[in-house]
């Protein structure tokens, strides 16, 4: 879904519509990203959220009193539906090059701040390249759970999810509930929690050797 620069006006118009239809993804006050780049990103995210919503409307709803079976069945349908709809999706479809560059700058700035070490420590919390999973037979022992970072690929269910350091999260564009930032090693991924899918990623977004690749 890459756009030609001459389409900028259309993009801005679309972005403005997107903001109107989803006021909840308005950027946090601390986000220091060029407005046009931000609008571009929001447009891509909204395109995805529309797809997500379309699917949610077509499959049985899961209410707040669901059984484990209902939740699992719903997730499977969401996963298959989104994978089918996004067949052929590739890296950079959502994190377009200017968006990727802007987000890299935000992360680098945050890590270079006096609290940078605290941020790195949080990124390591639950990060599947740094944290292991307790064994069922003996929970005092653990095993690794690898996550293969691939667009439209399943996030390994056995693996933990990284924390998002609040101070960094508040400087990144705010996302709608359907989509979340997470770290896998140094990669920043976009993940749909309901479908358990990796939507896009920024390779080596964390420029810090303390975080394993």
């Amino acid at each position: 879904m890459r756009r030609h620069p001459s389409c900028l006006l259309l993009v801005l118009l679309a972005a403005s519509c997107s903001l109107n239809r989803n006021a909840h993804i308005a950027p946090a006050a601390d986000v220091d990203i060029d407005a046009r780049v931000l609008a571009e990103f929001q447009e891509e995210v909204e395109d995805y959220v529309d797809l997500h919503r379309e699917l949610v409307e077509r499959i049985p709803t899961v209410g707040p009193n669901a059984t484990a079976e209902e939740i699992a069945a719903h997730r499977e349908k969401m996963t298959r539906g989104i994978q089918a709809k996004r067949k052929g999706a590739k890296r950079g479809d959502i994190f377009e090059s200017r968006v990727e560059a802007a987000i890299r700058r935000v992360i680098a700035r945050e890590l270079a701040s006096p609290e940078g070490q605290q941020v790195v420590k949080e990124i390591l919390q639950g990060n599947p390249r740094a944290e292991r999973v307790p064994n069922q037979s003996d929970p005092t022992r653990t095993h690794p759970a690898a996550v293969r970072v691939v667009v439209n690929g399943l996030y390994n269910e056995d693996a933990p999810l990284s924390s998002m350091p609040p101070s960094l999260l508040l400087k990144l564009p705010q996302l709608p509930e359907q989509v979340r930032y997470r770290f896998v090693g140094r990669d920043l991924i976009l993940r749909d929690a309901q479908a358990n899918l990796i939507l896009d990623f920024i390779k080596n977004a964390v420029p810090n050797p303390a975080v394993p690749r």
């Binding site: 909840h24 946090a28 899961v62 209410g63 707040p64 009193n65 669901a66 059984t67 484990a68 079976e69 939740i71 699992a72 719903h74 997730r75 609290e115 605290q118 941020v119 420590k121 949080e122 919390q125 639950g126 944290e131 999973v133 307790p134 064994n135 069922q136 037979s137 003996d138 929970p139 005092t140 759970a145 269910e157 056995d158 933990p160 999810l161 990284s162 924390s163 998002m164 350091p165 609040p166 101070s167 960094l168 999260l169 508040l170 705010q174 996302l175 979340r180 929690a193 309901q194 358990n196």
Partner: protein, 302 residues
């Protein structure tokens, strides 16, 4: 008027590291007359024998201390989350408690898919973060947070709910500890920087967390008592490295926590898998005090 939560641990008994972990279940140290009785568990969803043994110990204590609900501090279902996993890692180990009508209120850990918010027995009402109250003189309100993803909407919600709550007792629970002596994880400093000002400003009394796989009680920090209760199904032996802020730690066996609120006192008893008391004591609610200076503006979120 907001109040400064100036609370003190009145007493605490602790045995811990040298405690022999054998023999029959010990006695209840809680007064067992309070209006609110509940249990705290965390990092439990492993489907392990240890998880089941802790759950059975909870059942034994429930017979003498009829707690009416359980709060979880996350990592409710570790590993895969198929329907079979929900049964093996939650429904089966806690079957006796569930059958007794005990309600579970969950918070999300870093091993939990956020879709657990729709799982009926977790009472999350479809929300990643939520609040509920219990009947107690002066009021008691719980705030369940999603510490994996502390974004702007959640922080705005938390501030709104804390400021609107007139409850005397305000208890928060979530996964990542703001204070922990864990060698593996330890304190979540970035999260602390974000949450502690809100907790202090709005008079949160006690915070329950997990993530580090042991039991720990932290000395009051800015008048708030913190617990780490992350060993109801996972354990990192030898991971507790006592920090200056730590009051008590226990990493030799699995454990859970019982809590009783009796008026202006919160009693607690941490119990090991074998029924040994590893910590107990009382936290008192201090009289309300104003925090806002005349014309003062709210503390920034961060």
């Amino acid at each position: 008027m907001e109040r400064l939560a100036s609370r003190f641990a009145l007493s605490a008994s602790f045995a811990l590291a040298a405690l022999p972990l054998c023999g029959a279940a010990q006695e209840l140290t809680l007064p067992n007359r309070g209006q609110v009785r509940f249990a705290v568990i965390g990092d439990m969803g492993t489907a392990s024998r240890a998880q089941r043994e802790v759950a059975q110990q909870m059942v034994r204590f429930h017979a003498k201390f009829p707690f009416t609900f359980v709060i979880t501090v996350g990592d409710n279902i570790l590993g895969p989350e198929t329907a079979r996993d929900f049964k093996a890692k939650f429904e089966a180990p806690y079957a006796d408690l569930l059958a007794a009508g005990i309600k579970f209120y969950a918070s999300l850990g870093n091993h939990d898919n956020p879709e657990q918010r729709n799982y009926g027995p977790f009472s999350m009402d479809g929300q990643r973060y939520y609040t509920f109250s219990m009947e107690a003189p002066g009021g008691l309100r719980f705030f369940a947070l999603d510490s994996n993803y502390m974004d702007a909407p959640q922080l705005a919600w938390l501030e709104k709910e804390l400021s609107a709550s007139g409850s005397e007792w305000k208890l928060a629970f979530f996964h990542h500890p703001l204070y922990s002596s864990g060698k593996t994880h330890g304190s979540s400093l970035d999260l602390r920087k974000t949450l502690e000002p809100l907790f202090t400003r709005y008079g949160v009394d006690v915070v329950f967390t997990g993530h580090d796989h042991f039991y720990e009680r932290v000395k009051p920090q800015h008048a708030i008592t913190y617990f780490v209760a992350g060993s109801a199904g996972s354990l990192r032996k030898g991971d507790y490295r006592k920090q200056p802020f730590s009051a008590v730690g226990f990493d030799r066996d699995y454990a859970f926590l019982l809590v009783e609120i009796d008026g202006a006192k919160l009693h607690f008893q941490a119990i090991s898998r074998t029924g040994q008391t590893v910590d107990s004591g009382v936290i008192a609610l201090a009289p309300a005090q104003p925090t806002a200076t005349p014309g003062g503006s709210p503390l920034p979120l961060r």
